[in-house]
């Protein structure tokens, strides 16, 4: 009876396993093998760390993603709680405007950053009008930071709003009745209750920033972030093995972040009960 059930179950998940193997596991295994099959052999993986150029790209990608994630969490965390708690004229319009970036591909976001801070951008016009010279930062890490922030904030705001809706107002009132001022309430009640949402949406934000390509590619091909380096190695230099090795490293870091955040969010969610 039991064995039969197991066999039936296996039959039912077989298609999922087949698809997973064909489109996910096999290419991944192939990628891992390709990475080790260049002129350098498995040492290609080591080169990602030893070669200053690749290592810098890896490092700056991580720093950029961490910065984007942290800034996004602060901005979207505050805005999300505010938007959930306050009803005002134009709130619905503001909400739908805030979610607009979700609809744009990276190229469009890059385009918008150029319009804002490019050589003929609004920021430059304004700063030169004020006599501070022409401010141009679109084609650099700063531009990339702006672009990533722009499409990260909406995702996090929506997640935070959903979590803030479930906050029990009595918890904050209880803390206040015991003498807690506003900051104390944020630290002891609101942040712990929001932490599963902050961790989960922060991880997604980090992963997206690590792998985003369109915006960086639109802004400039010489911004040294990992996806651009992979593109350059693969398409322009035909250095396929190294591109594969870099891809594996990028994938593993991102995966590890998501996996550990899931574990962490799981324990805090249990604690937040």
């Amino acid at each position: 009876m039991r064995a039969r059930e197991n066999r039936n179950l296996l039959l039912m998940v077989a298609p999922a396993i087949a698809v997973g193997a064909a489109f996910f596991l096999l290419p991944l295994a192939r990628l891992a093998v390709v990475g080790a099959s260049g002129p350098l052999g498995p040492q290609a993986y080591l080169k990602v760390v030893t070669n200053a150029q690749y290592f810098d790209a890896l490092l700056s990608t991580i720093v950029l993603s961490v910065a984007v994630t942290a800034t996004t969490l602060v901005i979207a965390g505050i805005a999300g709680v505010f938007l959930e708690r306050n009803r005002f004229l134009g709130r619905e319009a503001l909400l739908s405007m805030l979610t607009l970036p979700l609809a744009f591909p990276g190229v469009v976001v890059g385009f918008m950053v150029i319009m804002l801070a490019g050589r003929t951008g609004i920021a430059g016009e304004l700063s030169s009008l004020l006599g501070a010279g022409r401010l141009v930062f679109a084609y650099s890490m700063a531009g990339l930071f702006m672009g990533y922030l722009y499409f990260s904030i909406p995702r996090v705001i929506l997640t935070i709003m959903a979590a803030a809706e479930k906050l029990d107002p009595a918890l904050e009132e209880a803390a206040r009745s015991l003498g807690a001022g506003p900051w104390r309430v944020v630290r002891d009640v609101i942040l712990p209750a929001l932490s599963p949402a902050l961790i989960a949406s922060g991880a997604i934000c980090f992963a997206t920033s690590m792998g985003a390509f369109g915006t960086a590619f639109t802004l400039a091909t010489d911004i040294k972030v990992l996806p651009i380096v992979i593109y350059t190695e693969f398409t322009l230099l035909a250095n396929i093995a190294l591109a594969a090795a870099l891809s594996m490293v990028l994938g593993i870091i991102t995966w590890a972040t998501l996996a550990s955040s899931r574990a962490l969010a799981g324990t805090t969610a249990a604690a937040a009960g």
Binding site: A170, E173, G179, P192
Partner: protein, 349 residues
């Protein structure tokens, strides 16, 4: 001036509350609570009793002109975190990211009490609430009754000036509610703390309140001891809201109140048609031949400690009477009723 000599007196003066959407929750409430006294705010849901509690707590401020005093101190503009009140909520509102001990110590920590003093006070609280074995537990591992004990301990730990309880027993099952009700009553009186207690449950209000304030549509319609509220309701709302009340119409003539089932001596003034009220337990069942009022049993409900009868023919409408007699009544059985004239109530309109 205070009953028990300790505890902070609370005084509300002209406290109205209008919410931004225009809802009028409170109508010029003026009330004095003596130090150490437990006042229960009783009323149906939406009557404004919780808003009243929140005004005392400092979670809502009264409309301009309203004043809240703790003893002689005007606390109207003090936010809740500076009023030193203890609050207990229907949802318990325990911090899920802290265990039992940390929850109880939270207020002490905020007040900057040193570690040793905190530990001592937590020990006292755990002992007082008889929850010593729960010290290290997470909140999710506690039952409803245990959670409410922790919530009480947390509120009392900081030695608040007043204790405010918002439907603290409503989320519990009947048996536990009864037990905790007794414990809370003992606790409040042994602490000698002034307490405002909100409930929609009249039984709870009667059992716990030194005084009961009945709230209807944002106004306090009567304040009094549970017995005053029960036996001398100030108006029809109080009479109908608390317990079962018979309302019958009769004619006063020649010193008697004449009802369809007979007549009883009438000692109050007034002639003509009057409406009078009486409680089910104020009518005594007698053999039909010996009583001035007679009727016929329509239905009986055995409640264990007493039997409730619906009786027709006594008055212009069905009356409800209760007896502690052990015997079973029959449907259509003729019975006599004795109602002492001084238990008949007339309401001022």
């Amino acid at each position: 001036m205070s009953a028990r000599g300790s505890g902070t007196a609370i005084r509300l003066a002209d406290c109205s509350k209008t919410f931004p959407n225009g809802t009028r929750a409170l109508e010029r409430i003026t009330l004095e609570m003596r130090g150490g006294e437990t006042v229960v705010f009783l009323g149906p849901s939406g009557c404004g009793k919780t808003t009243l509690l929140r005004v005392i707590a400092g979670l809502e401020s009264p409309d301009p002109g309203g004043r809240v005093f703790f003893d002689d101190e005007d606390v109207t503009v003090l936010p809740i975190e500076r009023r030193n009140v203890g609050m207990v909520f229907q949802s318990y509102a325990l911090f899920p990211n802290m265990n039992v001990e940390e929850n109880i110590a939270y207020g002490l920590k905020i007040h900057g009490a040193p570690q040793a003093q905190r530990a001592k006070r937590v020990d006292e609280m755990l002992q007082m609430m008889q929850i010593g074995e729960l010290r290290e537990r997470r909140i999710t591992q506690l039952s409803g009754g245990q959670r409410q004990r922790v919530a009480l301990a947390r509120a009392i730990a900081v030695q608040p000036r007043v204790l405010l309880l918002d439907e603290p027993l409503t989320a519990l099952d009947a048996l536990l509610r009864e037990r905790l009700r007794i414990e809370i009553d003992v606790l409040l009186h042994s602490l000698g703390i002034t307490a405002a207690y909100v409930t929609h449950d009249q039984g709870e209000a009667m059992a716990i309140g030194d005084r009961v304030a009945v709230v209807d549509r944002g106004a306090i319609v009567q304040v009094g001891t549970p017995r005053e509220i029960y036996y001398k309701p100030a108006n029809a709302f109080v009479a109908d809201f608390i317990g079962t009340m018979n309302r019958v119409r009769g004619t006063v003539r020649d010193g008697f109140l004449e009802l369809p089932g007979g007549r009883i001596p009438w000692i109050q003034c007034g002639e003509g048609t009057v409406e009078v009220l009486f409680r089910p337990n104020d009518a005594r069942i007698m053999p039909p031949g010996e009583a001035a009022l007679r009727g016929e049993v329509v239905q009986q409900f055995f409640l264990g400690d007493r039997t409730r009868l619906h009786v027709a023919g006594v008055a212009d409408r069905m009356v409800v009477v209760e007896t502690t007699e052990h015997r079973e009544f029959k449907v259509a059985e003729r019975i006599g009723l004795l109602i002492e004239p001084d238990t008949l109530l007339r309401l001022k309109d």
